[in-house]
């Protein structure tokens, strides 16, 4: 037993002592140790990691990148149990679901922040702390542009609660998918804006129903009362809204970047950006370290790689993520030409810490509705 434990302890000590040094090292300084480690394991919430793997191994021959594609929820479960078992599974964690990651992983030191020195100057502060955000993704209102060639049929989010859209608003059950619950939570957090938008639509101040505490909750209650249609996955939402040849297609909340599949799937998805007070949420995808990483230098090298190189579009490391509807957090990477620039986008950027605080309450509120 001791024979196994001794090197492990030495390794653990070594990693703690080295961590600070490694954080400030440039890629050139990291490289020799990373080559010695010769391997880096990545958990990622997207299949696009497969293309990152190929590009990384071309850029750094001799370092084997091992990637696992699993949902954020699975990753969280896995990381927790690996920590309990004392197994260092991943070196790099690429994950969304920010409110849970911050409150359940970062607060327990199950993941650690790392900002590559090379790109630190190109990132706004709130994308560097508490964890490094690599890009921004969305859950926003999308419509069928074939049926509505003149732009979004909805200009104010409260229109979704009117008879015109009864039974024709569709989204994933917020009690089954974390990011949709985050969307509902944001509506509650932005209650003041929601109240103003109500007045703009109906010409009178909002009146709250029994058991409803703010305009955001009132919107959610009205939306459910308007025969909201729930489905199990984002893909079902896309199909429902986007399918071509529909007379009267529904409208609903999904990912802006899914518009990239329009051609492959025969959809006509388009984002409704011109919506008061907002069309939905924008949230970060985090890149983090395992504090007990088996390959600490290669892990940092991999994060640096995934943040993109110095070219206009971020080069091969960022290429899989350079799509319309996802925005790089680096200010020096040019926005995708086909997408609404982030600055003009109406979506609210979530504050994961605030979201985490009232998320469970909002879930309970929704639970009482359905």
């Amino acid at each position: 037993m001791y024979k196994i434990l001794a090197p492990l302890c030495a390794l653990a000590l070594a990693t703690t002592a080295h961590a600070q040094d490694l954080d400030s090292q440039s890629t050139a300084e990291l490289l020799p140790q990373a080559q010695k480690e010769a391997k880096v394991t990545v958990y990622a919430f997207t299949s696009r990691i497969g293309r990152v793997e190929k590009a990384f191994e071309t850029a750094y021959p001799g370092i084997d990148m091992v990637t696992f594609d699993m949902s954020s929820t699975e990753q969280i479960a896995r990381i927790k149990s690996e920590a309990a078992a004392g197994v260092a599974g991943a070196d790099v964690i690429y994950i969304s679901d920010a409110p849970v990651v911050l409150t359940e992983l970062l607060s327990q030191d199950l993941v650690a922040p790392y900002v590559p020195p090379r790109v630190a100057g190109d990132l706004p502060e709130h994308f560097k702390s508490p964890l490094l955000a690599q890009r921004l993704s969305t859950k926003v209102l999308m419509y069928n542009e074939e049926a509505h060639p003149d732009g979004s049929p909805v200009k104010n989010i409260w229109a979704l609660t009117t008879p015109a859209w009864k039974g024709r608003v569709i989204m994933v059950d917020p009690l089954q998918r974390g990011d949709y619950l985050d969307l509902m939570t944001e509506l509650v957090l932005k209650s003041d804006d929601m109240a103003k938008a109500y007045e703009a639509t109906f010409g009178k101040p909002i009146k709250l129903g029994a058991g409803v505490e703010n305009a955001g909750e009132q919107f959610i209650a009205d939306l459910f009362a308007n025969d909201l249609v729930l489905v199990g996955s984002t893909d079902d939402v896309n199909k429902a809204i986007g399918a071509k040849g529909q007379q009267n297609p529904p409208i609903g909340f999904t990912s802006y970047s899914d518009r990239r599949d329009n051609e492959d799937e025969g959809w006509a998805l388009q984002v409704a950006n011109d919506v008061e007070p907002s069309n939905g949420i924008v949230f970060p995808a985090f890149l983090a370290l395992n504090p007990k990483a088996a390959n600490p230098a290669a892990a940092r090298l991999a994060i640096d790689f995934m943040m993109g190189d110095e070219s206009e579009t971020g080069g091969d490391g960022f290429k899989p993520f350079y799509v319309a509807g996802d925005w790089p957090t680096r200010t020096d990477i040019a926005p995708h030409p086909d997408a609404v620039p982030l600055a003009d986008f109406k979506g609210w950027q979530i504050d994961p810490a605030k979201t985490a605080k009232i998320r469970a309450e909002v879930a309970d509120f929704i639970l009482a509705l359905q």
């Binding site: 997207t46 690996e82 078992a85 599974g89 009690l175 809204i241 899914d258 492959d264 009482a368 359905q370």
Partner: protein, 577 residues
Amino acid sequence: MTIPLRRLGSPLARHGLTIAMAVILIALVAAPLVTILIQTLQPASGAAAWMDVLTGRLSQNLFWRPTANTMIIGLGVAAGCVLLGGFLAWLVVMTDIPGRPAVAFMATLPFMIPSFATALAWGSVFRNGRVGGGGGLLEGLGFSVPDWLSWGMVPTIIVLIAHYYALAFTVIAAALATVNGDLVEAAQMTGASRKRILLGIVLPVVAPAIIAGGSLAFAGAVSNFAAPALLGLPVRMQTLSTRLFGMIEIGQTERGYVLAILLITISAVFLGFGNRILNSRRSFATISGKGARPRRFSLGGARLPLAILAWAICILTTILPILLLLAASLAPSSLSLFSGWSLHYWIGHSDPAFARGQPGIFHNPQLISALTTTVMLGAIVAVAANLLGILIAVALTRQKVPVLSNLVSQMSFLPMLLPGIAFAAAYIALYGAPIGPLPALYGTKLLLALALTAAMLPFAVQTGRATVAQISGDIDEAARMTGAGFFRRLGAITLPLAIRGLAAGLLISFVNVIGDLAITILLYTPTSPMLAVLSYSYASDGFHQFANAVTLVILVISMLATGAATLLHGRRRQNFA
């Protein structure tokens, strides 16, 4: 081994097997569950979770309504499966209906088609405009499909019957095949009517199998997630399993575990009832040593209509969903399944202009390793679970120990009621970390194999019991009196006589393991994923054609296994004839 046992005196010799099985079941089933239970009993968070679920303002939507839906689905599916499966089993085993082997083969297939595929198939025909996307086939033909036929309770029950009736069929058919031909012949010679024979001889004999089949269907239906999630959500119908999944998904684990415990309790009450019926009646022993060939009823004029009916059931529940899956693995757009077919998703090389650069599944290096892992694991788990299953069945029928026997019976059924995700979570909670001198099993294939074995026990034990309960105790008694030890009796009498039921159990476990997603998704070893995990990760990234193609690969393996099992049956029967 047997000598010291005998010397230890009668109590241990008589109860030894039951005690050993109880210990194994505690390690495999009870301990992980107790771990979850303890988590919900933490004073701070646990108590609040129990209150929320049972009494608070949320309880109505969190527990009571989903429970009512779950019960309706469970009972409806159990009844439907017994009727449908029993009807087909009777036709295949007891009558002269044409094309019996084909019907028998096809009636076992639906269980191998993932229930989400059947649910999708239902949608592609009956879907109405409620979820946009242009509606299904019927709406396309100009019919207006009402919501109740498109979504919610009715389609969920129908789809689950179409999925689980194969279970009832397999178990009941195995039991019917053991009906003593002499008895039927005797009844016919003394002028009993067909109805009288059915109700007086056949039905009592297969009663344990009917209860077992109904129980399996009930438990499968109440814990099924895919069908209610796909068909129930658009009209906001929630069941305990969709609620449970949601609670775990949004991080409210305590409430999720509380729901899991309640789901187990409710089902345990119902299944305990079934168990009591099984245990209280001892008059099922019908396999005597003599191999009497089952007699076939002549259907006469009803032969053709019944054959057409049987074929219609089989085609609707097997061939149609398979064809839709196949089309969906070839069609570039999910909206027009029958146009622009391409083999790219199967054998294409990576092409940046097509399917976002994803190569066909046979060019995915993970496929081959996933294939071997899946088949190996399936075989090992099936054998382990069914060996345990037979031993438990023997213990339950031959060594009745008050309280302990009941405990063993209940524990062996528990895994069925636990949604795979909760079960896997419990396994991680207990065996993920080192226990004393035992190393942490997290991330090993052993942990996956243990969890899957435990999960398959309900099938193994139920099929084992249905068979063992019918094996006459007289032979065993005779062997024991002539001095045969326990293991010799097991090898020489019980196993050979139980082989037919065992084959059914092996098949069900194998097929279940290779198609399982819920447990493997949390426990698979990252270095070698299973096929179902591969299919899931394709699907979750929107690569549906690839996901469907992998699902078809699973299906082909399952069909090969079924084919092999049927061949073995055939040969055995010839030996008897």
